[in-house]
Symmetry: D3
Subunit: 282 residues, 6 copies
């Protein structure tokens, strides 16, 4: 009998032959309101058998591509530095093997680990952020590493002007003032996404999707639901735009399955993962 | 004291005087992912007292029409043939009495029983399907009778060209290839519905609504939620279009109440049932 | 050590210095379908710490204004008269102190207490109602004071022509007939809101928001979810229009938190409260 | 086709031939904490098809007896007097037909209606109460008719000494002081039940079971769960003892299904109803 | 990077070196009331990381033993014969390799597949059943293969006298009559378990645990909760008694995780699995 | 109008006049499995109005005593040291004012802050722990401060022999080996509690109740439910025994309300808090 391999649906290639590597980063210790994003990666993997491998949007099938699912990193809870180091190490290994890392959070802070790894390899890196929250605080409750500071920390590395923010509809006044002066922020919707394409050109892009960019009607399964978000079709359209750029890594974060007992949020995340993968493969 | 009659709100006519006959088909044994549609019919009946009998959309009131609620068929679980035979028999009895059958599922396979009955009486029958899923597999996990094959089986009877599919956004590649060549498939939305009216003309039409055609934001209470669906108002508009045709029977399927603890999905289904009935009465 | 003051986020001014006074009216005894709106006020207060005090919509911050949270009135259950008297008394005290009352229900009947207080002070009062339900019955199950009669009772006081209803999509036939002849009813959406501004001019306006005007996709946490409602952005836009008028009091009612286990409905109500307050301050 | 009769499982006799009459009293307007007991009667009826008609405890089968299910009384919400009158009328009709009334609440106050009817016919009536709460307040929040005063009101009619209370573990100090002097109260458990048999002898007994006498482990589906209660087997044993007396009517109250999403509370109530009926039949 | 092996906690031996083989049988198509047991096996595997590998009850640690987790059989839905054949084949392969099969259901019917395999190898096989339900019907809703007939079918193979039933508290009258004459039934509790040891002696024993033998207080996560069951400690004690016999295979069935949102039922099942494994290892 | 003071029911004394000070410690960042204990303190405070202030167990009423509710400490998330310091500071302030601190967690690690404060003032301090888990690891996932190490850390301060553990039924093998040699551990139940009284005599005692000592049947609302626990009455009895000693502080931890949607766990915790307070007052 064979062993019991457990992957996101259809992502059962070996590491060496794969062009994309999926991994989970189940960390949520800096979550200040409702925790639970640590359970996002296993939920997406378990429920992925409920969706098809074929996408009628992209007219492609996951079974036709080589994707490796590396499972979840075993991250410690509490202080974030060790977790970020482990994420950075894994992302670096994927990137150095000329593969695309696609990470599933966990809280949004996990993005920092992957961006650190990417910024060391790719000069002039841009980050495109789909999110309800600005995440631009300089510190939060005294901590410089937090879900609420993650984009500020990314900007510390790649330059604030290379942070492109879409769908933002929550933050304190200082964050919005900071964004006006420093980052490329587009409030409330993803509509301006095509405008950014020209600006970025062929430069390397890391895409980070905080799933709470979606309206809670479509995605209630998250720790901090923010009314006034985008719908699934708008997100797929924006994905088309971003993936026509030179994307070198991506993530989706902040699925907290316990808050959506219907399972619809997890199902949406699985489908979004499929669409993301099928837009990143060559 | 009187006996304790229990019907969908306002549908308390006697069989003989009625123009429409409602019945439940609480079967979900071929459901491959999350079962529970068997509880759809009692949920709709129980919760219907929470809606009004008057529709401001149609400016009509159920109390002004004669509708009989026959309750639920007592269907066996397991193999589908006996259940389909019982559904066909009841639908045939309704049709032979010159009444319109309106069935509440149950999983989508129950539609096959009603379509068999209708096809024996009505030549040139068309089926209009609102659904997230193509349901066009030739077999599924080795079974030819399944929620995933039901439209293929209907097409076997009435001809694939008479199958008009709307809102479809999930299936395997073969189903979409099959649809391109054989059925009248309209992906993702109900927008093309008026285009089909001319094509069908005065021919008899059976309408089957798999409720997962709705976006899970509007209808999380279903076994296989598929992001990217339509909203309630679009569905009501499409209903207007279909019901201007020669509809000889209809169903709504795949409400699984346990997955929506808010009750909003069941309430929507009750309201949709009211709107459907008020568009089918003469 | 200080005592343990508990208010809606940022609303910690003293009564005397405040320009707005928030209070809860946790009454739901006439609810005929699913009760639970009595738990709306504490839910909004408890969960308000999950939102920001700054609004990027209004570019204002609650911390910059003086708002007093008076807590919840201790209302008796059962017959509504004593509860309505207590609400009227508190609202009258707020109004006589030249402050704006903002009430959180409870079922929609609580509005009557506040309107009674306002009508005694403000001549030519108008009421703008955002609601799924007409609430225009003359009596309901034999009672003249009910969530289903509350707008009829308000009209008895201020004249039916001064009742402006938006988003209405449920009621019995008589209510819609009554509205055609007597009130200013706009069915299904809030789109006509600007049309009413000219008609009202500088007259005093009381705004009552039954949260079920929102589609259950956005707001499942309510006793009687009605498909076909408006979304959050439409509601915020309409709020902009109304708050450009001479609003002298407002309420939001019918949050029943137990029906939305995701917490998204309560979070939306908190955010809407923030937006309402920031549009009412001077 | 036959009409759609809906009864507690196996209770489909006609009124005239029956020895027991079941009816629901879906009223909960004086509930001061968490409402929802109004949905107890339909829940018990709907879910009763999930249990067997045969009891291995009693070695009897419901199908061998004649029981009529009269459905639910359509009670108004708000002030309790009209509801109590309607309950009293129905109970009186059952009693005058020489049948046993078995009522399903609703909040505990509904018991008063049935006790009023019984006390008018049966001299020297005793009431045996299984309950977590003393329900002996003279008034509650200013109201003399309330779930918290119901046993005081019953005692006003039949004499406090004829009130036998078991399992009581909650109340204010005055209630316990009152009970010491006036009623026959047995705190915390049902263990003393046999002691009361001698005292009552052949006198007529009305049994009222507030289901919160059960520990919340066994019965979480109630508005005011009180830790420290009895288990199901203790309740069945106590039922044996009581039903060896001259029981002339009975009820079970305070099932609020929404608080137990597992359905176990409703299933227990269904089974308890079966055991109660099979101990009351002759 | 290694592949992503997914097993019950600590059960990561290779097949050849193992003494016990775990596998899942996720089938529930004949469930007549509330389905969902199909999700039992993945739930137990996913949540097993929440328990310790060491048992203070047995003073043993899973890490010290060789156990192989074969994952779940991919069973078709609908008619049961193909599923039972696949279960029998896998169980036979395990048994022929001189290992103990430990199966996780799925509904209780899956036991028949394993018993068929065991009975072909072991003469004089006994089955010990812990269950709330007799499962002794000869047919159920016309089907001879059903969760309600499974013990009758097992008895057809090994002789009814070799069926030892404990904890039984539900069934129709015929089942209890049949048991009196034919099987070794012990109603309501597991207390008589030691009495059966002498009778069985060294004969081979298959143990089947329908988890609904537990009281719903301890195990609400099952399709048909039956009040009046045993508690966890009683079950562990009975396990001690049974596992002192010559147990050649075992299963636990009827965990339906969706009905216990607290996760306590799944956690109990994981712990019970650990205790079972640690009593079966040598 | 008065400000909106929010306390545990009846605990509205001023700090100076009080003999007991309640405070919340809403921290759960080291929780390794299911987080959510951070919401324990507000849940207990909010739901306390659902219980009586009078206890029939103790025949005392909270209203007769002076207790101050200091609200929740605003603790940072992430690394535990700052949170523990803040807890220690507050506990020290309470103790130095000759009052008893009663803390509500949060995860069990918060106990360490209070024990540090108590150990600095009270020589020969004993800790009595009611818990399902040993919490005796020396480090957990590399961290020395964790819910899984808290009792080891307390023992580092007061001596392992002064740690009295009851109800323990989960841990790794090393913890149980360590306990055998070093602490006073009583597995599985609270039955031996009276035996410890003689040993402790008049020495100061800190009582820590991890609520998961209760069986999940009684208390499912916790992150790591462990079958096989004690019931509520056993816990109350043990409380009687402990509170006859010289208790100088106490806590209850690990209520995670989101996992028990029935509210029964929170209600139990409120009642236990009342019983604890009424046994600690003089």
């Amino acid at each position: 009998m064979n062993s019991n391999i457990h992957t996101f649906i259809g992502c059962d290639a070996a590491f060496d032959e794969s062009e994309i590597v999926i991994f989970g980063a189940p960390y949520d210790s800096t979550t200040s309101y409702r925790p639970g994003a640590r359970f996002g990666p296993p939920a997406i993997r378990n429920e992925s058998f409920g969706i098809e491998t074929y996408s009628p949007y992209a007219d492609k099938d996951i079974l036709d591509y080589k994707i490796f699912d590396a499972g979840d990193i075993e991250l410690p809870f509490g202080a974030p530095e060790p977790a970020l180091d482990m994420i950075e190490d894994l992302a670096a290994e994927v990137i150095s093997s000329k593969k695309l890392p696609v990470m599933v959070g966990g809280e949004h802070l996990v993005t920092l680990g992957a961006v650190r790894a990417a910024a060391k390899v790719y000069d002039g890196l841009h980050v495109i952020q789909f999110d309800a929250h600005a995440d631009l605080r300089d510190d939060y409750l005294g901590a410089s590493l937090s879900h609420a500071t993650v984009m500020r920390r990314c900007g510390d590395i790649i330059g604030y002007g290379n942070i492109h923010q879409f769908g933002i509809r929550s933050g304190d006044r200082e964050e919005f003032r900071f964004a006006e002066k420093n980052t490329d922020m587009h409030k409330f919707s993803l509509d301006d996404i095509n405008g950014v394409k020209e600006r970025i050109g062929g430069a390397p892009v890391y895409l980070t999707i905080d799933l709470d960019v979606l309206d809670p009607a479509y995605f209630p399964g998250t720790g901090t639901p923010e009314a006034g978000g985008v719908d699934f079709c708008a997100l797929i359209s924006a994905l088309d735009a971003v993936c026509s750029l030179n994307v070198i890594g991506a993530d989706m974060t902040e699925l907290a399955p316990v808050y959506d007992l219907s399972g619809a949020s997890t199902a949406l995340a699985c489908k979004l993962m499929r669409e993301l993968l099928l837009r990143l493969v060559k």
